[in-house]
Symmetry: C2
Subunit: 289 residues, 2 copies
Amino acid sequence: MSAPRLAIIGLGLIGGSLARALREAGAAGPIAGYDPDPAQRDAAQRLRVVDHVHDTAAAAVGDADVVVLAVPVLHTAEALRACLPALKADVIVTDVGSTKQSVLDDVERVCGKLPPRFVAAHPIAGTEKSGVAHSQPDLFRRHRVIVTPHAQQDRTAQALVTRLWEAVGARVVEMDARRHDAIFAATSHLPHVLAYSFVDMLAQLDRDHDIFSNAGGGFRDFTRIASSSPQMWHDIVRANAAAVGSLLDRQIDELRQIRTMMRESRWDDLKRLFERARAARERYLAQIE
Amino acid sequence: MSAPRLAIIGLGLIGGSLARALREAGAAGPIAGYDPDPAQRDAAQRLRVVDHVHDTAAAAVGDADVVVLAVPVLHTAEALRACLPALKADVIVTDVGSTKQSVLDDVERVCGKLPPRFVAAHPIAGTEKSGVAHSQPDLFRRHRVIVTPHAQQDRTAQALVTRLWEAVGARVVEMDARRHDAIFAATSHLPHVLAYSFVDMLAQLDRDHDIFSNAGGGFRDFTRIASSSPQMWHDIVRANAAAVGSLLDRQIDELRQIRTMMRESRWDDLKRLFERARAARERYLAQIE
């Protein structure tokens, strides 16, 4: 099969980076693009991120063999609905959302049933920067992409999406959608909530701007994810609210336990907790190295 | 005045890095060192971090014009007590602790009153790595050092400590000790508590080690400070418990507010909170750049 013709709906950091990566790898035919935001469309055109920027989603997908939905997760249904009338019969549609069950539910709702050639995927890559201007062709190199096949999954479609991600240097792994959502609630969604919450709390204290001006490197790294797109993370937390909410309950519980240790001067307990945490993080580092 | 003879008590990341930086800058005479941990002493000797490693604190400080206490903050009193009988009459003693009022209190307790030539200082530098093996001579370059002069402060002693830090590339600023502790409770001490707590909470969930193996770059940065020394951070949180505790109360409160927003589907409020946090962090970035 010749290189597939692509359409990317949503020309942000992920959509833009995927377009640039696929072109650099020569893994795709012509790439069409669309973004609901005229400023992103203009920037994508100016940066030549895709071959042709269209003014509507339907116009972008008319010729496509593969359509990539690269929009904030709660906009998946709306984006798909806009494409639907113009899609070719045998088109493969895939996405890049950070939650997977909500995306499968939305696609099922829009289409009546889950189309066999819809492939749900989540590249574990990105930075706190958003927008096509920050897109980079090597964003996915040596990163994982989680594919969460559904009961009606067409395996040929899944294999083609897998090949595209591998062509841009990613390693593709399969996972159940709900399991994916539980894991990423813990490693990604909750930390974003904590970081936003911490920075917001400090900002309310920092009337005289002295706190932030005295922050060091630890602070910078700890709060980096609080510079992420509020729209995108609002969508993710909302789409995965049950899993994030129950972890947030546990986190609040553990912080209250720490507060009690401090109040009761149970300093050895606090130190043991710090030691357990450090040991766990060392195991994590050993795993990824 | 010729370059002062130094003694560094506590040959960890900070003490070791300061010794190496001062020698590289040619800003100190001979540097003696001591660490209560024989393994750190051996490593310091092997790496030639100081000119001479002694077996007791008293032996290390006998010739010193300037003694640097570079121990976890709650060990300040003990370290000073061990040095006291051997100190020269006109010696300058300084420290590098992350809390300043507790150090001033401890020094006052050990000496009966605050010695004019004791200079409380806190270099805003470090990494999550601890121990002399990770020491590096450029650790302080372009970093701030906060000096918190006390009521009896000898300004000549303060000026000499300032010159030593400036010689290794740091920028020295003055601040009231209690104000310092309030600010660093917010930008440094509380984030460490949050990071340890978050990793510990996940570790309890991660019976099958699937969570950590699926963590991405955001997780790595967010949890980096949870790899810091548990002993050091136990000491800091304990030494600054009032300030850290009251901020932790505020943080728990704000997380409970977020949980309520999620429960009541007040998604616009959540998005506004994320937007406020991102705007605050952008202001912080603009300040430090």
